[in-house]
């Protein structure tokens, strides 16, 4: 406990130091980076240890704030979320040290590191806070820090817009949380917002439970990026500097998941529709997320939508888990929660890795527009390899970590199919996961293939350069993590037992019992995967051997007889994705501007001049739900401007009327 607190303190402190150094970019960069790295590592040690031992520690200090007490508690669940937080913050500290160098001089790096370390610390605080006020404060500080990081390059208009959307979204979400905690406090009585008090009040919940759960899904879901509360993600992630997008998408979203799980522990036995709700949200988020991702042209925006998809997968797991608890099918519960929680860690790893890759691409090539890139594999080999690993992992393909968590959830689904009661849920889950997996593969073959392979499609791609050392090391670390969890999955799964027990309220032994077959299966997976890698290696060697002596000439790509292919003839990302986007036209509503080869009168033009084709897919919810809503509110407000028309006569009339109305109301 104390070590984690110390780590948090260290993070804050280094942030302040960096800020105080302020304009002196280099020093601030060094201070902040080291602070983030060391602080997170220190915290990581104890988090892992506590997760393994599954014990609970808490510290309470008096705090003169209404309803507030400085009560921090760390149990397996908190530890499980602390681990990705600390890992990713450490790595992103390392990465950021290299990434931010380019801003040195023109921007205030002190501020950057102040907010970055603040973000890291506040996320950790969110995971350990055990008092409503403390939690809300940490939550809001986290939101504000991330907001300032998102708007770090606030000179660009797009960034400003993103910042506003993000701020509005997170604030509204917090409003729901406010009500949530106050309701819990109301139920618990005795005017305290300590989590311990909530834990005691299962019985008194009654009808409040449903309301509270709904509030949690909305409030925390808006942070986690559940559809339809996801709109801020695709705006904020591209706007933020890449290490920040990595942290935000990798772990900050997960604080929302953590919140939901934590609230579940307060509500006692869950209700059936909660499970179905989460399942539905997960399905919708997963499929919509991946579909939107396929249609994107901006690499980071694409990744942002994939975060929506992965959060959806996590929600699928949790929903299944809740259903398992409701139906007293512990095997469903264990596999669901286990898969979901493991996916929390895995997604943190590979999504962080991918965002870093995108960052290096932007850093090296100067653009995020997929269709302008190409052939980066020759200029940025390291980024390419790590990005490939991330891509394979996020598609849930063996032998990497993405497969492990999806495997657990799948197993839950198959178990569910076996019983008439849960068959529908299981079937939906399997179909959904399979579809998501296939589409994700489509999306990442596109992203990786178009960005890194083939020929450069524009000068951007042509004169790119590899990322700096610290950035490469950071990416390699996460890539190693992806492979490691993939190969050592059984032990990882065993490690998670306590957290699963916490979140499902299932005895630990039972959890281990139900995880055992899964982990034995995973052991086989690991073995086969190991052999797989080995055979691949061997085959590569053989191949090299047999080719060594032979003539392996080098020609232009075979273009079916067309003898002068150019880079612009390559398949673009848009064309690659076109079949899928066309297939889901109804959902995506991709709008494209085709050039017309006919003059205004409709007669064909035989020598058309330079034509341009472009297509873009806007977020349905943002475009057709939220924007109109806000506009309506604004128009409504403007309707009432006449009240303040500037004529003192009217003003006095208001007073007189108010008085009369009140008098009549009072004397009636």
């Amino acid at each position: 406990m104390l070590i984690v607190l110390f780590a948090i303190g260290l993070l804050f402190l280094s942030g302040f130091l960096a800020l105080s150094v302020g304009r002196n970019g280099g020093v601030a960069n060094l201070l902040g980076g080291c602070g983030a790295f060391s602080g997170s590592l220190i915290g990581l040690v104890e988090a892992v240890e506590i997760l393994a031992s599954g014990r609970t520690e808490q510290i309470r200090w008096a705090w003169s704030v209404p309803y507030g007490s400085f009560l921090v508690r760390i149990d397996a669940l908190s530890a499980l979320f602390l681990i990705p937080i600390f890992i990713l913050c450490a790595v992103c500290g390392l990465y950021g040290y290299g990434y931010m160098k380019s801003f040195c001089g023109c921007k205030n790096l002190g501020a950057y590191w102040f907010f970055f370390n603040g973000l890291a610390a506040s996320m950790a605080m969110v995971a350990v806070a055990a008092n409503g006020v403390l939690f809300l404060m940490s939550w809001e500080i986290m939101a504000l820090c991330s907001f300032f990081l998102v708007t770090f390059e606030h000179e660009e208009g797009s960034v400003q817009r993103a910042g506003w959307i993000y701020l509005a979204a997170t604030h509204i979400g917090t409003a729901f949380l406010l009500v949530l905690f106050l309701m819990l406090g109301h139920v618990a009585g005795n005017g305290s917002l300590d989590f311990n008090a909530f834990l005691g009040s299962h019985g008194k919940m009654g009808g409040y439970a449903d309301v509270v759960f709904l509030l949690a899904v909305i409030g925390f879901g808006s942070k986690a990026g559940f559809v339809p509360f996801h709109i801020w993600l695709p705006e904020a992630h591209p706007a933020a500097p890449s290490p920040v997008s990595a942290v935000m998408s990798g772990v900050m979203l997960k604080t929302g998941i953590y919140g939901i799980l934590r609230i579940l522990t307060f509500l006692g036995p869950p209700h059936l529709w909660w499970g179905y709700l989460l399942l539905g949200i997960g399905l919708v988020s997963g499929i919509l997320g991946v579909l939107m991702a396929i249609a994107q042209h901006d690499l980071k925006r694409l990744l942002a939508y994939h975060s929506v998809e992965n959060v959806g997968i996590i929600a699928l797991g949790l929903g299944l888990g809740i259903l398992g608890v409701v139906w007293h099918l512990p095997v469903l519960a264990v596999l669901g929660f286990g898969g979901g929680l493991l996916h929390v860690i895995n997604h943190a790893l590979f999504k962080g890795l991918l965002f870093m890759g995108a960052g290096s691409v932007q850093h090296g090539a100067g653009t995020r527009q997929i269709d302008l890139l190409g052939g980066l594999i020759k200029r940025m080999p390291w980024t390419c390899v790590t990005f490939l690993i991330g891509a394979v992992a996020i598609c849930g393909l063996p032998p990497l970590n993405g497969f492990v968590s999806e495997f657990l959830i799948y197993m839950g689904g198959f178990h569910g199919v076996g019983l008439a009661r849960s068959a529908a849920a299981g079937a939906v889950l399997i179909i959904g996961l399979a579809l998501i997996g296939g589409l994700a593969a489509a999306c990442f073959t596109k992203a990786f293939g178009v960005v890194f392979l083939g020929e450069p499609r524009s000068p951007y791609g042509a004169d790119a350069h590899e990322a700096g050392l610290s950035m490469r090391v950071a990416m390699l670390l996460l890539a190693a993590g992806c492979v490691g969890i993939g190969l050592f999955s059984p032990w990882v799964v065993k490690l998670m037992g306590h957290a699963v027990a916490e979140s499902g309220a299932i005895p630990y032994e039972a959890v281990q019992g139900f995880l055992a077959p899964a982990s034995s299966a995973l052991l086989k997976v690991a073995v086969v995967s190991g052999c797989f890698l080995f055979v691949v290696l061997v085959l590569c060697l053989i191949r090299a051997k047999i080719l060594s002596g032979r003539t392996s000439s080098s020609e232009g790509t075979w273009d079916c007889g067309y003898f002068r292919p150019t880079a612009r003839m390559q398949y673009t990302a848009s064309s690659f994705a076109q079949p899928v986007t066309a297939m889901f036209e109804a959902i995506l509503r991709t709008r494209s501007h085709t050039p017309s080869f006919s003059d205004p009168r409709g007669a064909p033009v035989f020598f058309p001049d330079a034509a341009l084709f472009e297509s873009h897919t806007e977020d349905f919810f943002l475009k057709s739900v939220y924007a109109p809503l806000f506009m309506a509110v604004k128009r409504f407000a403007l309707k009432f401007r006449f009240l303040q028309a500037g004529r003192v006569q009217f003003y006095i009339l208001y007073i007189a009327l108010t008085l009369f109305v009140l008098l009549i109301w009072c004397l009636r």
């Binding site: 809300l136 504000l144 000179e155 604030h171 009140l662 009072c666």
Partner: protein, 499 residues
């Protein structure tokens, strides 16, 4: 000592009128502010007894508001000194309409400023309803010339509306006092003295119906001053036209004084068993005010007016909280403290921005954070604070209010409260973000950045930055750690209201 609190500024004001040398006068201003603060601090340590047979008495409620007034006045005074230094006193062109205008004499201004302090202190001190009324009236008198500091049309118009509307309101308040007198007549030619204490003491004897009507008149009358919608109409004009430190005093201190007056009425009603009725009225006013504020903040173009409307919003919150009662009394008083500090700071910062950019239009201000490093950051921090985000004080007070609303099972009110707060937050965010972010180019005047930076330096002189900075730190501290002394005082004050 109580008398000193009132008469010291009064005498100093008279003196300031005659003092020739600017330096001496400014010294006097600061000195009085400091002494006043010191006296208030003494009052915290040992409470002075009643004066004039209990007409003047410093109870917990009064002390709380007196402290606010005193602190804000120090900030405003020190800011004013810097303001005098950087203000050019000759004829100069108005940046909006372009006509020429001059300022009022500095002596006059200082004098009125000190009178203003005296009258506000009197409001906090007076226990007798008549005297309270006189004091509130006097604040209007003293502040009118302050608003008309820049001698030009807009400020004149603002002053005129301020006077007209507030006088009507104050007249109604006077009538309210008479009704109270009638309610307190318990026989031919004999009646309870109109002193809060004694009224509460024999509350049961009060005539309920007349008391009700009296309270209505008091609320409408003082509510005009307090800026409760729909009597708020003078507020945006006055706040946007007055010089910044005056605006900060108006919305930070003056509104609180009016609020105190309403609370006095509430005390009597509660004691007489009419609390239910009074609270319903206040609740209604609170919701209406918040709604009006939200409506006018969304898409607001003038950032000083935006602040003014946000003051209306917060007065609404206070009324709402008092209307809820119970634990919300504490929340209301705590929120009054938070709001005063935050809003004063925001107005002072707005003054700096105004000086630097020479425009009140939020559209034309860009990149404040880059251009005015300190003021810009303070501006954004203040925005966060005033919209009730942690870790600033208002978050806690609004949390308390919301909690008591939920605990009383008034879900609808809680929902409306949160909804309006969210709307206001989003509206203000759209404005403030636009002002803070981006690159500092002035659409209004295409002057070279060289001139601008000189302006920036002018706007960020020490005296212009330190007062708001101090206030901002105060708000931050209140958000993280509520000093037991303060919370104790607030609790006692809440008991005073709650009876």
């Amino acid at each position: 000592m109580i008398l000193l609190l009132v008469f010291l500024p009064l005498v100093a004001g008279l003196a300031a009128w005659f003092i020739r040398s600017n330096r001496l006068r400014r010294l006097l201003l600061i000195a009085v502010a400091l002494i006043h603060l010191g006296l208030t601090g003494l009052a915290w340590i040992d409470r002075p007894g009643p004066v004039f047979s209990g007409w003047l008495l410093l109870d917990d409620l009064g002390l709380l508001f007196l402290s606010i007034v005193s602190v804000l006045f120090l900030a405003a005074a020190s800011y004013a000194v810097g303001y005098f230094q950087r203000e050019d006193w000759g004829k100069r062109q108005d940046f909006e309409d372009g006509f020429l205008f001059t300022n009022a004499r500095e002596a006059t201004f200082t004098c009125c400023l000190l009178f203003f302090l005296a009258t506000m202190s009197l409001v906090c001190l007076s226990q007798d309803f008549g005297l309270l009324w006189v004091a509130v009236e006097a604040t209007t008198l003293a502040s009118a010339p302050l608003i008309y500091f820049h001698r030009h049309r807009r400020s004149l118009e603002a002053t005129w509306k301020y006077l007209m509307i507030c006088s009507v309101g104050i007249g109604l308040a006077l009538l309210g006092n008479f009704f109270l007198a009638v309610a307190s007549t318990i026989g031919p030619n004999e009646s309870i003295p109109m002193i809060v204490g004694s009224l509460i003491a024999n509350a049961p004897l009060l005539h309920p119906l007349w008391l009700k009507v009296a309270f209505l008149f008091l609320v409408v009358g003082y509510g005009t001053k307090l800026g409760l919608a729909p009597m708020h109409t003078w507020l945006p004009d006055a706040h946007s036209e007055a010089p910044s430190m005056v605006s900060s005093l108006l919305s930070g201190a003056l509104l609180n004084c009016a609020f105190l007056a309403v609370l006095r009425g509430l005390q009597v009603c509660t004691a007489a068993g009419q609390g239910q009725f009074a609270q319903e009225v206040l609740l209604g006013f609170g919701l209406v005010s918040m709604t009006i504020a939200a409506v006018f903040i969304v898409g607001q173009t003038d950032f000083k007016r935006m602040l003014a409307y946000s003051s209306i919003e917060h007065m609404g919150i206070l009324a709402l909280a008092v209307g809820l009662g119970g634990a919300a009394y504490f929340g209301a008083l705590f929120h009054a403290v938070n709001h005063s500090l935050t809003k004063a700071m925001l107005f002072l910062v707005a003054g700096n921005i105004l000086t630097a950019y020479k425009t009140k239009s939020a559209q034309e201000v860009r990149g404040a954070v880059k251009f005015l490093p300190i003021s810009g950051v303070l501006w954004f921090a203040g925005f966060l604070a005033i919209t009730g985000s942690p870790p600033f004080g208002p978050f806690l007070s609004e949390l308390i209010i919301l909690k008591s609303a939920l605990d009383q099972g008034r879900i609808a009110i809680a929902v409306a409260f949160l909804l309006l707060l969210s709307v206001i937050f989003i509206g203000m965010a759209a404005i403030v973000l636009r002002m803070c972010q981006g690159t500092p180019v002035l659409e209004s005047t295409g002057e070279s950045l060289q001139v601008e930076t000189s302006q920036a330096r002018r706007a960020e002189s020490a005296l212009a930055v330190i007062p708001p900075l101090a206030l901002g730190l105060g708000v931050l501290v209140l958000g993280i750690y509520l000093p037991p002394a303060l919370s104790g005082l607030i609790e006692h004050a809440a008991k005073v209201i709650g009876g």
